[in-house]
């Protein structure tokens, strides 16, 4: 696992956007071989989306050959409701970039057969070759998507009942009326996220600092509510945080990750040089390189 620390949420957004842009551009996606990207909602990824939009508008990145899968959606909330994740994704991201609508996948929380919808979602992910990079955010209790504390680490896309804390936290989007907050959601599972070839998680703000500490400084533990810690089992995970989010980390942890950031750069540079010389086979550079597993 790799941890990148930046000054503030804006710098975190820029870092992740540039990172994703580089991954997509290096992948050289085509209609036959699209780049498959997993996406979150929430306030943390907004700076990333803004930075990605700017890259698209500046002509440095295109989503023409990118397929996206969103993490989750409320059950029973109309698709055009101001708080639906369809609305969020369209407003904050999809309307501003060049992705063809047919390549956007978001769970349908109004499907008649909700279980069937979840199974179809998993099948569709398989059909397009699995997710290349899953971008995620976390809740204050460390949950990824709607994988509330107690979610199985082997879980797949399914119906989930929201934890009371999540309902309370989301009430602010529903006129502070708890009764208006949906009780259920469809969400990808922990295993769905871990199955993707790479996971990038954005963690910003002091309110997320305890979750971050639990996730990277202690053992894998979903029951004690830190679903994020499952990332320790993933071979290629990147967490990008701001200064505020490091508040609960040990000083030595912060120092360690700061030091390997420069080592990582060095390794990547030399690998790229080797590839340019033809020493490495084409495609090898897409594999993970470096020191962070």
């Amino acid at each position: 696992m790799r941890l990148i620390i930046r000054d503030d949420p804006l710098a975190v957004g820029d870092y992740i956007a540039n990172y994703i842009a580089k991954r997509i551009n290096d992948f050289e996606p085509t209609p036959e071989r699209p780049f498959v990207l997993g996406l979150p909602t929430g306030s943390s990824p907004i700076p990333t989306y803004k930075a990605l939009i700017k890259l698209v508008k500046d002509g440095k990145l295109s989503f023409k050959n990118v397929i996206t899968f969103n993490m989750d959606e409320y059950v029973g909330l109309p698709r055009d409701h101001s708080e639906s994740y369809h609305t969020f994704m369209f407003r904050e991201f999809f309307s501003h970039i060049d992705i063809p609508p047919s390549q956007v996948n978001i769970l349908n929380g109004n499907a008649e057969d909700l279980i069937g919808e979840c199974n179809k979602y998993e099948a569709r992910i398989k059909e397009v070759g699995g997710i290349e990079l899953f971008l995620g955010g976390i809740g204050e209790d460390g949950h990824i998507a709607f994988n509330e504390p107690g979610s199985s680490l082997a879980s797949r896309t399914r119906i989930k009942t929201l934890a009371f804390e999540t309902i309370l936290a989301n009430a602010r989007f529903f006129n502070n009326d708890i009764s208006q907050v949906p009780r259920m959601a469809l969400t990808v599972g922990v295993a769905t996220v871990l199955d993707s070839r790479e996971v990038v998680v954005v963690v910003t703000g002091q309110r997320k600092s305890l979750a971050l500490s639990k996730a990277i400084e202690e053992g894998v533990n979903h029951l004690a509510s830190w679903t994020l810690s499952a990332l320790q089992m993933h071979p290629w995970a990147l967490i990008v945080v701001d200064e505020d989010a490091t508040a609960e980390l040990h000083v030595k942890t912060v120092k360690y990750f700061r030091s390997i950031e420069s080592v990582q750069h060095e390794v990547e540079r030399s690998q790229a040089a080797l590839k340019a010389k033809g020493v490495l086979q084409a495609g090898a550079a897409e594999e993970q390189v470096g020191s962070m597993e």
């Binding site: 698709r79 055009d80 369809h86 609305t87 369209f90 407003r91 999809f94 309307s95 501003h96 060049d98 063809p100 609508p101 047919s102 956007v104 978001i106």
Partner: protein
Amino acid sequence: MSSANGLVCFTNCLLPQEDGGLVERDLWIDERRGVILDSQLAFFERRERPDRIIDLGGNILSPGLIDIQINGAYGFDFSVYDGDEEAYRQGMKLVAEKIVETGVTSLVPTLITQEKSLYPKILNLLHPFSTPTSATLLGWHAEGPFIDMAKRGAHAPPFLLSAPEGIKSFESAYGAHNLVDSEDWLMATEGQCGVRIITGAPEIKGVVGAVHELTKRGVVFSIGHSAATSAIATAAVMQGARLITHLFNAMPQLHHRDPAIIGLLGASPHLSAPAIDDFPTPTSPSAASAVSGVTSEAFDYQTTPGTRPTVNRTASVSELHLLKGQVADLAFERPYYDMIVDGIHLHPNSVRLAYSAFPEGCILITDAMKILDPNLRDGVHEWRDGKRFVKEGDKLYLEGTDTLAGSVITLDKCVRNFSRFTGGSLGEAIKCATFNPAKCLGIENTKGTLRPGADADLVVLDRQGIPVSTWVKGKQVWGIPVN
């Protein structure tokens, strides 16, 4: 240039909202159907996104402006009909096609008081009309003949009428088939009856009694060219009148003991309207003013009614409430009011005064005469019946008098003036020339709005309110072609 899939995205622009705000957001339209899209729906349901993207460089993308009182323009006068139907239709077309340069995409041609026999002929011609590249004529606005002699302005005295038989008098003046039942004309498409607005004086005999029936048929009854007292004006609103024509002009000035028509803007929630029997007989005010012999608007103050309260209203039974910031329910809805914001018909202070009293009801009009043409020089110009205008800048008089005879201002300039006079934002000014008039006419789902499904009639204004381009049904019809 058109879009491969027919969808167009306007980006990098400010969109006026129905609350007067301006927000930075994209707008998607379907240029083939000529309507505004629900972009999110198009994306997720139709699985489409616009092939054509238009960068507006930070300008304002407003609904096209709506002028609900315009007498003519570019040399054509809606009130002049010499028996040549084809010539009249050409005139309608001329105005509709040229007016888009002022940002106007919908207008209600307005007839000044006519000789009685001319009404049915002209009204038959003034059906809703548009060409693919023109603004839409929404129907007609008849100003007169049921108006008060004392407040007639430039209207011809011999043609003024009273309505002793109520609605029947209206039918005989305009032609019964031109005042068809609301169900019929709401269903009707182009080529059908076009009645929209009738301006009349409720104190004229029989007029108040007809307001209810007119309203029922979908006509907007507007109080104007009237000497109505507070009591009569209130009764007219109770009967359904929902507009005041060129507020402050051709009506009694604001008197604190009987604020009359203007006072409707401040209608008190704690007074209920009187029963209609409480009024002075409908004929008396006009009779009185006719006797006084005062005919010029310059002497309006002489006919301003009494100096003691004449309204015999009873306090409503509603109780006082304790919630700061809330206003008790009005006994009736205050009417919309339209204003000629040229700085001549109204002092800027008057504009701000009215707007402050009732912002939701404010509508901007030009009341422009046929010589309206942004490029016309000052001087003396022919009108009709051998009379002539004198144009001095934005001022327009009957030759040899100081009677204002409508205006020569364009609506886009009214919007800018309004923003300046009230100190309000450009977005709030735009609302008064788009959403408010549409709402008054009951067409706010299709015109004067950026709601999904509305007609893609748009005007691009720069950040100082100067029109840059005009779009009708999704196609650019004026301005330097964009990419």
